[in-house]
């Protein structure tokens, strides 16, 4: 899966937790989940759990802590998918 494909799929994971859906159209690696997408921090665990379910991966605590922006989310998902191979 390319980074762009993962980015597009990540939008569907994040979408339920952001009120302003139009913000998703312009996200990039630097987009911060809380500051830029206005996602409440209480929903960060939901995003991690939903990503685990979508990709059938397990995201450990250290990796979960890194998932604060779009780029690090893609990095963690890509790393965990690679480990499954």
């Amino acid at each position: 899966m390319t980074r762009q494909e993962t980015l597009n799929e990540l939008k569907t994971v994040i979408a339920p937790y952001t009120i302003n859906k139009e913000l998703l159209s312009s996200i990039n690696d630097e987009t911060d989940l809380i500051r830029d997408l206005k996602i409440n921090s209480a929903n960060l665990v939901d995003i991690i759990i939903d990503a685990e379910a979508k990709y059938d991966i397990e995201i450990d605590y250290d990796s979960a802590d890194k998932m604060t922006n779009v780029g690090t989310c893609i990095d963690v998902i890509t790393e965990k998918l690679d480990q499954k191979k």
Binding site: I19, K38, N40, S41, A42, V45, Y61, D65
Partner: protein
Amino acid sequence: MTSTGNDIVALKAINVARTKEFKFYSKIIAAIEKDIFDKQDHGDLAFETFVWLLWSIKESAYKYLQRRMPELVFSPTKTLVQRIQFSASSLVQEFEGTGFEGKPVYKGTVSFGSDLLFFRSMISGEFIFSVVNGEDDFENTSWGIRLIDSADPADQSKQVRAFLIARLNKQLPGTNLQISKSPDGVPILLNGVEEIDIPISLAHHDHYVAYSFKVYGEGKPY
């Protein structure tokens, strides 16, 4: 460096069934913290409320420490509630105050690395509110909780700022108070364009907003 950190969780907005699932709560609380719930008398506190109580304490601790450590990453499972004294009551009658004397609070300690912090929390049927301090003394900590009519992030941000400014204006008459953010994302208080050394913390979740700030002496901001 003096600091403050607070957080609010709107209980109507949490997913109760999901919170009870191990894969979810284990990303918020550590096994040693689950022991607190299992082994201590916690009255009629539901497990999902306990999980979000600890979340609010940990988030408050993160906000407290972030002022000193701007690069800090919030890590719920590395931020550990060490001790908790459960409240016998959940009847929250006052929504603004200074200190928590006589209030129905949960209190205890929370650690991150070598930092040991102290917390006070209040739980009503609608929300969980926590404040963290570096000392086990909250006489100098002012706080407020408010129900607002919108859950839109822009409205939350606007209304929590107006709520805090209204409180501070009573204590600092003649000032032109504004709230901004430092380059590290920490909220700061300005008089005009000049930063004032009063640590503030803002929180919002769903239809609730909350703040805390430090005061000294006879109710004057620190």
